[in-house]
Structure formats: C-alpha cells, structure tokens
C-alpha cells in the first residue's frame, strides 16, 4: 500500500466518489429550481419550514434504514412497525393526556425491542434479513389488527400530537419552526456524530467485508444487531411524528419501508453495504419528498405519482450505476 498525499479539501468534496453525496445534491438542486419556477412561494421560509417538518419522519426512517443497509442488511419491517406503533399509541393513550409520556417511552422501548429481535434472528440464527424482517412485517401487521379487532380504537392526546403538527410560530426570519424539524435536527446531528465515531466506522467496515471485520476483532453480530435497534428506534420516533401529523389509521406506515430503501439508494448508498453516507441517505429522503411536492405543483394526478417516482428512481440509480462501472473500467 502506498501513501497518498491527501488532496486539498475542496477538491476532495468535488470529486464524485461512488457513494458520495454530489449526485444527490445535483438532483436536489434541479428539483429546487423546478419548484422555484413553478411555485416561488414554496421557497419562502414559513412554507419551507413546514415542508421540512412534514418530511422529518421519512428522513428519520431513511437514516434508520441507512444504518441497517450500510452494515449489509435490509429492514422491511419499519413500515409495519410505524403502523403498529401509531395504533398501539392511540389505544393506550385513549385521549388521556396524562398517559402521553409513559406511552412515548413505551413506543421507544418497543421500537428498540423489535429491532433487537430482528437483529438477533438475523445474526444469531443466520436467517437472511430480507426474510426476518418480512416475517416481522407479517407478524406486526397481523398482531396489530388482531389486537384492535380490525378497527383502530382510542385516540391520541393533544400533547402527543403536538410534536407532529405544532410549531413555534412567529420566529424571526424563519416564520415558523415545527417541533418535528427540531426533533429532526437533533437526531440528524446525533446520526452524523455516530457515523463519525468508532462505531460508525465499524458499521461501514462490517458492511464492506464482514469476514475482514470479524478477523480484525469486530463482533459483527453485535454491530449489526445495534444497527437494527437503531432502525427500530428511528421508526418509533417517525411513528410519534407521523401519528401526530396525520392521526391514527392502519395506513399510517404502509409502503414506508420501500420508500426508505429507495431514499437510501437514491442517496448513493450501495445495497449490500459498505458504501455511502448517512447524510446522503437523508438527502435522498428529502429529494423524494420534494419530488412529491413538485408533482403536486405540476398537477400530476395522485395515481400517476408512482409511475413518475418509479421512472426517476430507475433513472437516478441507472446513471450512478453506469458511472461507477465506467470508473471501474478506467482503473
């Protein structure tokens, strides 16, 4: 191995490495320009802040999914976990404000527990995570319907819903700052710090080559299990925000797992692990949300949305895949 003189920082940022965040920033910029052309009001601080607040749950799910994917696994259970959490919260709180905090704590513990079970089954019993979390998906959906006899019961308290739909109003310059946005910012900071810590590096190493990591003394199973727990926790926070924003329904989390995986891949993270950054994953989620907003502005009918979404995902991933391939061809 030869030592390489580190390039000056600006150069390193500009160089679009595979797994770098430059492509996703470019897509995001294009979408922002399109939004600005069609609906300039959208970029005014108050509406932009509300948009960011609304996007918080999906961004958090993408971050959670990132931890799992970068370590080389999948988590298909997060959507059903969100649904289960929202329905459970409504039934337990039953519109009684005094139960808000115990239930929030319970949701977080529950999310971590589901992640722990996913992680242990995947790592200790060596079941592929696709199957583990698919089974967990079926179990959670079945269990939550079973427990509530097919229709959601109870209701969320205002204290609970506050985090998903209220904001600090009349903030200078920004207009309004949703609580969800503050929660998001804190967790984003934590996620970035985590990925810069020893644990973050270990996580990527495990995804890149589990065998090498194992031989270097990493306890691969523990690292991956922690990734699943983080994903479960992210789903719990997302459920609290989503339940607050849009209320209780069995549809609360439907399809979120595929949305999160798409966002992560859009953000330059390789399925199979070892490449990509958590910031890229979260930007991917933001891009996806902005895409939906844009489709609204351009009057794309709700039904056609998935077609446009599918086309854009295929396009973005195809472009980055062919670029990686051509780069590999050069060296």
């Amino acid at each position: 191995m030869r030592t390489v003189q580190p390039r000056p920082l600006p150069m390193r940022l500009l160089r679009a490495r595979p797994g770098g965040i430059l492509p996703i920033l470019a897509i995001l910029a294009v979408l922002l320009v399109l939004v600005a052309l069609r609906q300039p009001d959208f970029l005014a601080p108050p509406s932009l802040m509300s948009f960011l607040g609304r996007s918080a749950p999906v961004i958090l799910l993408a971050a959670g999914q990132y931890f799992v994917i970068v370590s080389g696994e999948f988590d298909l259970s997060v959507g059903s976990l969100v649904t289960a959490q929202v329905v459970v919260a409504a039934r337990l709180i039953d519109s009684d404000p005094s139960r808000t905090w115990p239930v929030v704590a319970l949701l977080l513990v529950g999310g971590a527990l589901v992640g722990l079970v996913n992680g242990l089954i995947t790592t200790r019993l060596r079941v592929p995570s696709f199957i583990t979390t698919l089974g967990m998906f079926l179990i959670l959906v079945g269990a939550v319907y079973l427990w509530s006899d097919g229709a959601p019961k109870g209701g969320l308290s205002e204290e609970f819903r506050r985090y998903g739909r209220r904001a600090f109003e009349d903030v200078p310059v920004l207009g309004r700052v949703p609580y969800a946005l503050l929660v998001l910012l804190v967790l984003v900071a934590l996620a970035v710090l985590l990925m810069r810590s020893d644990f973050g590096r270990t996580l990527v190493a495990v995804g890149d080559n589990p065998r090498t990591a194992e031989l270097s003394g990493v306890r691969v199973w523990r690292t991956r299990t922690i990734a699943f727990v983080l994903s479960g926790l992210a789903a719990a926070v997302a459920a609290i925000l989503l339940g607050g924003y849009s209320g209780v329904s069995f549809q609360a989390g439907v399809g979120l797992e595929f949305g999160a995986i798409t966002a992560v891949v859009l953000g330059g993270v390789a399925l199979g692990g070892g490449r990509g950054s958590v910031v890229g994953a979260m930007l991917g989620a933001l891009t996806l949300e902005l895409l939906f907003a844009l489709m609204n502005f351009y009057g794309v009918s709700g039904a056609l949305r998935s077609t446009v979404q599918g086309a854009i995902i295929l396009l973005a991933v195809a472009v980055s895949a062919t670029r990686n391939a051509s780069r590999q061809g050069e060296t």
């Binding site: 089974g135 998906f137 079926l138 179990i139 079945g142 319907y145 079973l146 446009v308």
Partner: protein
C-alpha cells in the same frame, strides 16, 4: 476435496416436504379433535386452488432467485395480466387464445425490461424491479378503479373451476409448469448456466457463460409465470382485478415460498420442487386455520413466524454442515 463434492449436485428430498407432512399430520389431528374434517373434498380443492395461484408465481420467482436476482414486480404483473386478459376477451369465447397470447406478451415485455435494467444498466435487482413495479402501479391506479373486462365463460369453466377428481385443472397447470421448470434447470444448458451465474457470476463469466443473456431469460420466464397466474386469477374471478396481485401479497409471499422451499436467497442453490413444497406448506397452514376458524389476523402472525422459523432451521443445518 471430498468424494462427496465430486458427485453431481444431487439434492435429497428437501426438508420442506418433511415439514409439510408433519404440518398436515398435526393439522389433521387437531382439526379432527376439534370435530372438523381437514381432507374433505371442499377443503382439499380450495387448498389446491390457493396453491396453484401462488405456486405459478413462486416457480417463476425461483428461477430469478436461483440466478442471484429477485423480482418484486410480480404482484403488479399479475394484476396487469388479469386486466389485459379479461379486457381482450370481453366475455367472448372466440377471443380466448388472442387474449392469453396478449397477456403473456405484455408480461414477457415487463420481464424483458426487468432483465435489461438488472443486466445492462446494472441496477440492483431489488431497486430495478421495485421501480418497474411502481411504473405499473401508477398505470393501474390511474386507469382502473375496480374490476374491468369479463373473462370468457369457457375459460372460467375450465381453468377457473374444472377439476379432475379433487384436483383442479389450475393445479395440474402448476404441475406442468413446475415439471417444465425442473427439466429446464436440471437437464438443459440454460439451467446449469443459471445456477452457475447465481453461484458466482465472475466464475460463470470466465467459464464462458453469457451472464446477461441467462439472467434476462430468467426474468422473462419469471414474468411469464406471473402472467400465467394472472390469467388463472382472471378465470377464477371472472374479470380483471387491478389490485389482486398486491392484495394477495404475491410478491413477498412468493419469495417466502421460494426460501421456505430451500432455495438460497443469495442464489446458486435450490430448485422448483422445493418451492412447490413451500407453497403447499403455506396453503396447508391456511387450510388448517380455516378449518379451525382461526382469526385471519392471527393466521398472518403465524405465517410470519413460520417463514422465519423455517429459514432459521435451514440456516442452522447449513452451519452444521459447514462445520463438519
């Protein structure tokens, strides 16, 4: 290298059939104690009908998974195929063959697209087929609110409901398709190449296999199987149904059936016979719980647990084998 590994890769009876026999035996016992009958005419027929639909999809899914790929778009291909078939027939017996031809052509085209995205553009199969699924979902959601078209009465009477003794015609179709897939996998060049590509793409390429062509073929065959399942469902329901694929969770359940049947999700190991065992196991559990009148949601919980447990058992055996 031991002598054993030099022998042709013959697979013993997959463990799933042992599990199937045990499940049916225990289920029969429990149902009998409960005062019901597990193996009367109507339960057997409905079990085989359920197995036929899921089985057709799962056999196709086996091919792509063996090749190291995956198809998440099958649920939408099924819905699309029911609509194409039913709308082309529009209730007339004369249009049965053109309708079937058209439905299969459309399905094959989707498979071709999947295959080209995975091989030429090197998009991860998970994302590629998910994206194609979304494309189809948009088309289905924007074009259809509910059932459309009418399946020709002859097709309803034959493929939909006719049976030979307790065995529905559709299940015989599954047997034929499985037989063809088994033959293709174990006796043709395509089959050996597919397993080689799934096992180690680099080694396969260096040995002269045209990986791309093999994988595209597998994707086309997989979509054809899903299209066939769609035609069967159209003849069962009497019309095209834009949500039948997704509501039946055919995408995820077919993958689950393949894996329960002993095929490795990473590719290169397994076969279609095991897959049919996996399908029968899922359908059998369904039938037992129906007889016991267990809550539908509880059934789903058990299903999830069974899928995980089955794969855990395989993984455990694989680890033990590797250690010895």
């Amino acid at each position: 290298m031991s002598v054993r590994s030099l022998l042709p890769a013959r697979r013993p009876v997959p463990g799933v059939f042992v599990a199937l026999a045990l499940t049916l035996a225990i289920g029969w016992l429990v149902v009998t104690i409960d005062g019901g009958q597990l193996f009367n005419q109507s339960t057997t027929v409905s079990l085989l009908h359920v197995a036929a639909g899921l089985g057709l999809v799962a056999v196709g899914q086996t091919l792509v998974i063996l090749g190291g790929s995956l198809d998440l778009s099958v649920a939408y291909v099924i819905s699309l195929s029911t609509l194409v078939a039913a709308e082309t027939m529009n209730g007339s017996d004369g249009a049965v063959l053109p309708a079937i031809g058209l439905a299969l052509t459309v399905s094959a085209a989707v498979g071709l697209l999947n295959g080209l995205l995975v091989t030429r553009l090197r998009i991860n199969a998970f994302i590629a087929t998910l994206g194609v699924g979304l494309l189809l979902k948009g088309y289905l959601d924007s074009g259809y609110d509910g059932p459309a078209g009418t399946t020709a009465p002859t097709l309803v009477q034959t493929l939909g409901y006719q049976r030979v003794g307790p065995v529905p015609l559709s299940f015989l179709l599954l047997v034929v398709v499985t037989g063809a897939a088994w033959f293709a996998l174990s006796r043709t060049r395509f089959g050996h190449h597919l397993v080689a590509v799934g096992g180690d793409p680099t080694v396969a390429r260096l040995s002269g296999v045209r990986n791309d062509r093999v994988l595209v073929t597998a994707h086309v065959l997989c979509s054809l199987c899903a299209g066939l399942a769609g035609i069967y469902l159209a003849s069962r329901l009497g019309s095209g149904a834009p949500r039948v694929g997704t509501e039946g969770l055919y995408d995820l359940e077919s993958i689950a059936a393949v894996v329960i049947g002993g095929t490795a999700l990473a590719g290169g190991r397994g076969g279609v016979v095991g897959t049919v065992g996996g399908v029968l196991l899922l359908a059998g559990i369904d039938a037992i719980f129906n007889q016991l009148e267990v809550d539908a949601f509880f059934k789903q919980v058990i299903r999830g647990a069974v899928i995980i447990a089955a794969v855990a058992v395989y993984a455990h055996r694989a680890v033990r084998k590797a250690a010895s």
